[in-house]
């Protein structure tokens, strides 16, 4: 691997000040960044190591919900009692992600900031809209695992298994920067709802998340109000380990609720997690019966523009949608 310098800041302010350009990446778990450096996709001369900053490694109850520090590993999120009690879909989705080793290393902050897994983007020989060039190779090329929604500018799918579930739970991302200090000199905390945190290529093809240079994700905040929800998470992938979902459906269902109370989020079919208010509307206040499933299945492919090799994702979503609703009903959980 190419050699680089490593900065060891001991505060968020130090780390933030170091990131003077996007060419100075942060490293936390390292599982994504080191692979990109080995492939010469990223060639930083300096990497800013966040591991020695205190206060980013705990899961705490805040009264309004829970706060997961950005350096908490995926496994520590999945095995935490507060998370399991309040946000079981998060535990489910993490259990399907990557490998046990990676889940012991990768952090929640790094997970939501990881780069997409497009094979053109991760090949040093290709230039595209995402890395400062123009166009999208996948649209006319090999696109079996690419997006079917919102894929006109760039057809990556969002690689984080957690991201759609965080959007469903109404999570907020806590962000700090050395640029914004309050009068007493402490750094101000900016909060961005997960739904706004993940950007579409139309918003900015070169960024996946709403972070400006120098901004650091310091925590993921989960609001307590979702605790009574019934939940369901269904996904499909080719291989059960070290793979990425081909499609996922997250459903949060409020018993006795109306359309605005439910959440239906599609994952791995678009560049950012895709909230489907039209499907939430169909669930509305009706019974979760076969008619409801059929109506959802008829609607779920609306707006999709499959590419040459990924049309299978539409029927896959129909199947996952049905599975998610049946699991909500308390029928035997399908694997």
């Amino acid at each position: 691997m190419r050699q680089f310098k490593v900065a060891l800041p001991n505060s968020i302010e130090q780390a933030s000040a170091l990131q003077k350009s996007v060419d100075v990446p942060f490293i936390a778990g390292g599982t994504d960044l080191l692979a990109r450096i080995k492939e010469y996709i990223d060639t930083p001369d300096l990497v800013v190591d966040l591991k020695r900053i205190e206060g980013l490694g705990e899961i705490t109850s805040t009264g309004q919900g829970i706060r997961i520090g950005a350096l908490v590993t995926m496994d520590d999120v999945a095995t935490n009692r507060l998370v399991a009690e309040g946000f079981p879909a998060l535990v489910e989705t993490i259990g399907n992600a990557a490998t046990p080793q990676i889940r012991n290393m990768a952090t929640i902050g790094g997970n939501i900031c990881q780069k997409p897994r497009c094979w053109y983007l991760r090949h040093e020989g290709y230039s595209c809209a995402k890395n400062g060039g123009s166009g999208c190779w996948a649209r006319e090329g090999e696109n079996e695992f690419h997006a079917i929604f919102g894929n006109q500018v760039c057809a990556v799918t969002h690689p984080s298994n957690m991201a759609p579930v965080l959007v469903a739970y109404g999570a907020s991302i806590e962000i700090q920067s050395s640029e914004s200090k309050s009068s007493d000199g402490t750094l101000e905390k900016r909060q961005v709802e997960a739904e706004q945190f993940f950007l579409t290529p139309e918003q900015d093809p070169t960024r996946e998340v709403a972070l400006k240079p120098g901004e650091i994700v310091t925590a993921v905040l989960l609001p307590a109000k979702n605790r009574t929800d019934q939940w369901s998470y269904a996904e499909a992938r080719e291989k059960q380990s070290f793979d990425w979902a081909q499609a996922s459906v997250t459903v949060l269902y409020q018993r006795g609720g109306r359309s605005g109370d439910h959440r239906v989020i599609l994952g791995a079919v678009s560049p950012a997690p895709l909230r489907r208010a039209d499907l939430e509307e169909i669930i509305g206040s009706r019974a979760l019966d076969a008619d409801c499933i059929q109506a959802l299945q008829e609607k779920i492919g609306e707006g999709a523009h499959p590419l040459s090799q990924n049309g299978y994702k539409v029927p896959m979503l129909r199947g996952l949608m049905a599975k998610a609703i049946r699991n909500l009903n308390g029928e035997k959980k399908e694997g």
């Binding site: 691997m1 190419r2 050699q3 680089f4 310098k5 490593v6 900065a7 060891l8 800041p9 001991n10 505060s11 130090q14 780390a15 170091l18 490293i27 778990g29 390292g30 599982t31 080191l34 692979a35 080995k38 001369d45 300096l46 990497v47 190591d49 591991k51 020695r52 900053i53 205190e54 496994d75 990557a98 490998t99 046990p100 080793q101 990676i102 012991n104 290393m105 059960q240 380990s241 070290f242």
Partner: protein
């Protein structure tokens, strides 16, 4: 392993020759790495910046602390193999997808290829060399032998580390839990069935 298999007729093993040739030249010390324990107690406004040349890195591997100079961009895997000369930990994919480089970090399995060695400072690292010896195999390692749980053997160190961690956390795993436990380790020979049987066998013996 039979020692003869590793040594050439001249009495110089290929491995020892390579190890000697790969030893890094002495490089000027740049800065000490603040340990995880020290973090937050420093008052300086300027963060420590290490490298890109070699710096002293103290790692505690299999219970022994050693300070060795290496660039801060060195992965834990390369540090263990090239600098600590512990070649039991294997380098295969070098991307965190195969598990051949699995080691224990404070008792939990990690892919040593996908983290920096400096992020392991102050933590307990256990490699396969720290789990049993050829003369004194652990119950799990003995079970690997008895159940023929390897073919080419290249995934075996990583498998042994992952299965050791599994039995430490859960001494009586069922088959599904064993499969989950080795979900991050690939065996290209496809010996999974025998590996699962070896873990069950070791579990029945109550060993680790």
């Amino acid at each position: 392993m039979d020692k003869r298999a590793e040594e050439s007729p001249e009495g110089v093993s290929r491995r020892h020759f390579l190890k000697g040739a790969g030893a890094a030249a002495a490089v000027v010390t740049v800065a000490k790495i603040p340990s995880v324990v020290d973090a937050g107690h420093e008052v300086s406004d300027d963060p420590v910046i290490l490298g890109p040349g070699s710096i002293p890195i103290t790692l505690k591997v299999n219970g022994v602390s050693r300070e060795i100079e290496a660039p801060p961009s060195t992965t834990l895997l390369d540090m263990l193999r090239e600098y600590h000369r512990l070649t039991g930990t294997k380098r295969v994919c070098d991307r965190g997808s195969c598990g051949a480089c699995t080691v224990l970090l404070d008792g939990r399995i990690v892919d040593s290829c996908s983290m920096l060695a400096i992020d392991a400072v102050g933590r307990e690292i256990t490699t396969v060399e720290g789990i049993g010896t050829p003369q004194n195999l652990t119950d799990l390692q003995q079970a690997f032998v008895e159940k023929d749980a390897l073919q080419c053997g290249f995934c075996t160190p990583g498998m042994v580390v992952s299965c050791t961690a599994l039995l430490n956390q859960n001494p009586t795993p069922d088959r599904d839990q064993i499969r989950q436990g080795i979900a991050g380790n690939i065996c290209r020979c496809g010996t999974y069935q025998n590996i699962i049987e070896a873990v069950e066998h070791a579990s029945r013996k109550g060993g680790k």
